[in-house]
């Protein structure tokens, strides 16, 4: 096992602006670090730099105690699971699993025992004689996992390994990967654009945007204590409601929200207010001192146990919108008016210009139910 360290790593293709403009990131020994971000944010490029499939333009990349900038992929002792499985179609499952050990000229007995162990662990025992073309998507991905496992590498790399699977299989494979990581405790780097995968799998999550590292932390730290608007919007589904409010010194106000607030006197005239959808609740059930929101229901997404209610305020400034996550089994009709309330302590404030978090003296009420 090994830790991975990026020190001011830059990746640039030709004369174009850098894909990764200067990454500083430390991945601890034995942890599962999830790199997450929208398409084109540089997460796959970062992963491929660890694998040695992309060169490092400048900076230092350390794997364990070795500077890996010039190290060829085969000498990095890393194994990678690809999005499209990348199995060898002309080889059987056994040959696929054994390939890495065979090219490294390992003894036959070792190859056999390692392959059988991996196959048993992943439930591939009956499929060893089949070729990838005869397997389902989930089975192929398990073979790809097994192929990475048999070599017992220092680092596992996962490049969106579940993207090609259907929803049910994705949950199942997510469980498999999590279990494997707990059992093997091998340093792993996992790339995904799916924040649910990131939240459920990651020991820590690194959020990237436009090649820049937005924030690193445990899933709950990122969810409960985001550094900026991007992280606040990226973590959580549906994302955090962000609305522009005017700072009147004694409180914050827009067409949707009117919030009395101490300690905002010295801040800018325009701020961004963040509120998680689950922190909005029916006004009738809320304490009297909680601020109220009255808005028109624009759309209702019924999810069974809960529903997502899209709200908007008409009038001149009719561009403020919010989503509320409310208990299900209610009859809400688009066009009707709805009064909701929110806990003033569950509010996040961001600078409207820099989009950075303005940390107030009071803690944000993350855990308290609505």
């Amino acid at each position: 096992m090994a830790s991975i360290e990026f020190k001011q790593v830059v990746k640039r293709y030709g004369d174009s602006p850098p894909t990764v403009p200067g990454l500083d990131l430390h991945i601890r020994d034995g942890e599962l670090m999830v790199l997450v971000g929208p398409s084109g944010c540089g997460k796959s490029t970062t992963l491929r730099m660890i694998a040695g499939l992309e060169s490092v333009t400048s900076g230092e990349l350390w794997i364990g105690d070795r500077l890996a900038n010039q190290l060829p992929p085969k000498d990095r002792d890393v194994a990678m699971v690809f999005q499209n499985y990348a199995l060898y179609p002309h080889m059987t499952v056994f040959e696929n699993l054994a390939f890495g050990l065979r090219v490294r000229r390992q003894p036959q007995s070792l190859i056999k025992s390692r392959v059988e162990m991996a196959a048993e662990s992943l439930g591939l025992g009956d499929l060893l004689a089949r070729k990838p073309g005869q397997l389902s998507g989930g089975q192929c991905q398990r073979v790809a996992l097994g192929r990475a496992m048999v070599r017992d590498p220092q680092v596992f790399l996962f490049d969106e390994p579940l993207s090609n699977l259907d929803a049910e299989l994705r949950v199942q494979m997510r469980g498999n990967i999590g279990r494997l990581h707990r059992e093997l405790a091998t340093t792993s780097v996992y790339v995904t654009h799916d924040q649910v995968e990131a939240m459920t799998l990651g020991s820590r999550i690194a959020i990237l945007n436009g090649g820049e590292l937005m924030q690193v932390g445990t899933p709950m730290a990122l969810y409960g204590d985001p550094d900026n608007v991007f992280v606040a919007g990226f973590m959580g589904a549906p994302p955090m409601n962000i609305v522009t409010v005017q700072n009147r010194g004694s409180g914050l106000k827009n067409s949707l929200v009117d919030l009395q607030r101490d300690g905002v006197e010295g801040l800018a005239g325009e701020l961004l207010l963040g509120l998680r959808p689950e922190k909005l609740c029916h006004a009738a059930a809320a304490p009297a001192h909680w601020p109220r929101i009255r808005a028109a229901i624009e759309m209702v997404e019924t999810l069974g146990a809960e529903m997502l209610v899209h709200l908007s305020v008409g009038g001149v400034q009719g561009d403020e919108r919010m989503i509320a996550r409310l208990p299900g089994l209610q009859l809400l009709t688009p066009g009707d008016s709805l009064e909701l309330a929110f806990d003033p302590d569950a509010v996040y404030l961001f600078d409207a210009a820099s989009h950075r978090r303005i940390r107030e003296s009071r803690p944000v009420a993350v855990a308290e139910p609505c």
Binding site: A51, G52, L53, P73, K74, R76, V78, A79, M80, F82, Q83, N84, A86, L87, Y88, P89, H90, F99, G100, V103, R104, R147, R151
Partner: protein, 291 residues
């Protein structure tokens, strides 16, 4: 049933029948001539007062009597077996040399980025735009006068391999492009060298394209006449197409031997086609659609 009958009576069927007849008739004529046991082009000797049906019957390519004499004579009394052997050596060597060169070149063009890559590919394409006859004189000068490889198998193999190279490289490159690059990246990470990846992963996966390209190389060398007739002086070094010419010349008109030889020459190609049949469809459409 009615639909099938309708199809048979349609003008389309008639047209296809006519087109097929145009293709098959000369072949039937050659086969009949080969089995007729005679050297004359006329399979049926008409009486001088033959009527319409008699003349029509003379057009039907069926010999008056069937005989294997032409084959026996070609195989025993002539140098045909020697020529066949020469052709086989030249064609097989061309296939092996051509495939070795084109597989490696196509892989490099498909996977590596190097100066001159685009221009090299374009040059290959441009070389295919000129008629092959245009190269006769320079090739003769280079191969026979400079390299001294006239009248040798090696000279022919070199020329055939190299002239077929552009087509083979383009064909194989198109196929290699469709193979997912992640497979190679995965193998790289597993510790395989570029050469191991090429031999153990890429070549087995590219079998359909290699089969078609190999067949093309083999047929190019097997059927080629002009270059072989210029480079080869010694009768014992002739390839089959060159040898066949001497059955029908200013001094001889052994059409029967010529036809028997032609039938014999076709057999290896037919066998190759049958053996590689399952690869042909997938190989020919290779590169057309991204897999």
């Amino acid at each position: 049933m009615r639909r099938i009958l309708g199809d048979i009576c349609s003008w389309r069927f008639a047209f296809l029948l006519f087109a097929s007849a145009i293709v098959i008739y000369p072949l039937l004529w050659v086969v009949s001539l080969a089995f007729s046991g005679q050297q004359s082009l006329q399979l049926v000797v008409d009486p001088p007062d033959a009527g319409f049906w008699g003349q029509l019957a003379a057009l039907v390519p069926l010999p008056e009597q069937w005989s294997l004499d032409n084959f026996r004579a070609v195989l025993t009394e002539q140098l045909f077996m020697r020529w066949l052997f020469n052709s086989l050596v030249v064609a097989l060597s061309t296939t092996i040399v051509g495939l070795s060169l084109s597989c490696t070149a196509a892989y490099a063009f498909s996977r590596f980025s190097f100066p001159g890559r685009e221009r090299g590919l374009m040059l290959f394409l441009i070389s295919q735009m000129f008629p092959a006859v245009l190269m006769l004189i320079p090739l003769y000068v280079i191969v026979v006068q400079w390299l001294g490889l006239g009248n040798s198998w090696l000279g022919l193999v070199l020329v055939y391999s190299i002239t077929a190279l552009p087509f083979c490289v383009w064909m194989l490159k198109g196929y290699f492009d469709t193979l997912p690059y992640e497979i190679e990246e995965s193998a790289l990470l597993e510790g395989a060298s570029r050469l191991q990846i090429f031999y153990r992963i890429i070549l087995p996966l590219a079998r359909p394209a290699i089969a078609v390209t190999g067949l093309f190389s083999f047929m190019t060398a097997w059927n080629e006449f002009i270059l072989a007739s210029i480079f080869m002086d010694d009768e014992s070094r002739y390839t089959v197409p060159v040898g066949l010419r001497f059955f029908v010349s200013d001094y001889a008109s052994d059409w029967g031997f010529f036809a028997a030889g032609s039938v014999l020459v076709s057999i290896p190609v037919i066998l190759l086609f049958l053996a590689l049949q399952r690869f042909l469809v997938s190989g020919l459409s290779a590169g057309a659609v991204k897999g």
